[in-house]
Point group: C2
């Protein structure tokens, strides 16, 4: 599976988190993005710094591909019925269909029948494997330095920061690995456990399992964090990753201009120092970790000088090195950690 089409109807680019992550970081060759709202444009018209591809209105208009990937990571992870015609077409063409939804494609009777009839594969990356269990609190014992990206909210760039740091550390000759915890990270890395789809008793254990798997033959593990420790809906995921990974250091990720929890307008985000105290406080009794740097997502600021100023303010607020690793490179963060 190499050539893919990314389904991102009405959400491309910024609300189609999975499509954006795959365009930026995956080794897939993206042959088309499917978004009826932007059909006729190209990816580069909307996102300048990722691989380019045509945008088409439906799977009917997509060139030959090995797979269709659902590129939207929506709240609740449900399947949207208006995606059905594209999935149907892909299966009829014999393509693999890959998704990271809580609703599994393989449980859909029509899709299962079409896949069987056309020799196509349904790949639900958010379906956890069997055999997971509770943590034994052993992740703190691995020789690798474990760095976890934590956030002030969901969708601020925790996966992106972990990927940027992994690549930059590898470029410096370090034995570094990315630890994927979400559907997009798993699609990019080709392995990992979908932590937010795992029963809550086994969340820390699943993260621990990944740390133990990679922590003995790497010097650095960069763990993709999820949500925020005070997110009204997702803090369970966040807390389980924090205690399952038992990190040595944390990077606090934030988006410039984000003042409320995304999709939860009644929940203003507190000062970054509140997050530092909570994340560090929760690690202290088990395996103390400090926030070592800040990562600021400045995509909402068109002007580079504005972005630089925002990064500087964020660093001053934290009293720590900070940068936007996508816009300005991750060196400032890496230097603070290594």
């Amino acid at each position: 599976m190499n050539r893919v089409a990314l389904l991102a109807h009405d959400q491309f680019p910024h609300f189609a988190k999975t499509a954006m992550g795959l365009l930026r970081y995956s080794t897939f060759e993206v042959a088309a993005v499917i978004d009826r709202a932007h059909a006729g444009k190209r990816v580069r018209d909307l996102l300048p710094d990722v691989q380019d591809a045509p945008i088409v209105a439906s799977m009917d208009d997509a060139p030959p591909v090995d797979a269709l990937i659902i590129g939207i990571a929506n709240v609740g992870g449900g399947f949207a019925e208006d995606w059905r015609p594209d999935v149907r077409t892909a299966l009829q063409r014999g393509c693999t269909v890959m998704a990271g939804l809580h609703d599994f494609l393989a449980d859909d009777e029509e899709f299962a029948a079409l896949a069987a009839a056309h020799g196509a594969t349904l790949h639900d990356v958010r379906k956890p494997p069997r055999g997971l269990s509770v943590s034994q609190g052993r992740a703190r014992d691995v020789p690798a330095n474990v760095v976890l990206t934590v956030g002030t909210d969901c969708a601020v760039g925790k996966m992106t920061v972990a990927l940027e740091l992994t690549r930059a550390a590898q470029a410096r000759g370090e034995r570094a690995a990315f630890i994927p915890t979400g559907q997009t990270g798993i699609m990019i890395a080709g392995w990992g456990l979908p932590i937010d789809a795992i029963v809550s008793d086994f969340v820390a254990g699943a993260v621990e399992q990944m740390i133990l798997e990679k922590g003995h033959d790497h010097d650095w593990l960069f763990v993709e964090g999820q949500g925020s420790i005070i997110h009204p809906a997702y803090s369970a995921v966040t807390c389980g990753i924090l205690h399952g990974a038992m990190p040595d250091a944390l990077v606090l990720c934030h988006e410039a201009g984000r003042v409320h929890s995304k999709g939860f307008e009644g929940f203003p985000l507190p000062d970054p120092s509140v997050y530092v105290d909570l994340y560090e406080g929760l690690t202290q009794p088990l395996h103390p970790a400090r926030v070592g740097a800040g990562a600021l997502n400045t995509r909402s600021l068109d002007d580079t000088a504005d972005a630089q100023a925002a990064v500087q303010r964020y660093g001053e607020t934290l009293g720590l090195p900070a940068t936007d690793p996508v816009r300005f490179g991750p060196d400032a963060i890496l230097d603070a950690l290594l």
Copy 2:
């Protein structure tokens, strides 16, 4: 289903948490406890203050019952193969078999076949219903006062304290309800959601659903907490309940003499003030809650004066009213909350 046998091989009484909870709080008539290690004794020989029953070696020796209940809540929630003969016998007798394991009885081919052949029912209370989703952060809006029992560790008495407070509030004429979040609480109450068996993305949402269901026609909801916010394995469950329930007040539960996390000897428990700061800090940005009282489980202290002294020390450490609600009644806690 009224007359039951409780399976508790080699764990009765104190390690068979579910059996102990059902003996103390359920409306089931317990016709027998099954524990080969204590066969021939009676419950009252081991636990003085709960309903009495004979202890037998196997289901073969149990009197007629409507159901066999697995009374052991083991780490990881796996089915122990040495329970199989008792479950088999129960199904052959046409009894319901109820369990709160992560491994579902209904997925066991032999049990499914036996149940079908003998018209028996397999009831997995830890199997979550379909249709759960993410929290919307709405639990803080219910008119009821929401009290959550939080802990310094697992198995310190959070369910027991919530049940004692519910009963005592009802006895005072308050419209009070218990909100069950674990398998034993669900068996006792006859409803509830098995929070630690729910995918982590939906944990807060499931708790919110219960709060919204009961919070409009009650003045007090006493929510059964789980684990501890710094438990190496279970903190995801704890954090999800904290933010899903959006409590107005917290009761910090601890067991006298507990110095390490149970089953995690490498993790000493910090001072209670550390827990107070973390639990309160995590509620502060969303819906602030204070720890209003302490509950100390003194079952390890035989001498009443020792237990009284331990309770007094615990209260002084917290700077709050404290008691052992099972041993001394819950009034000191209730007075602090109401």
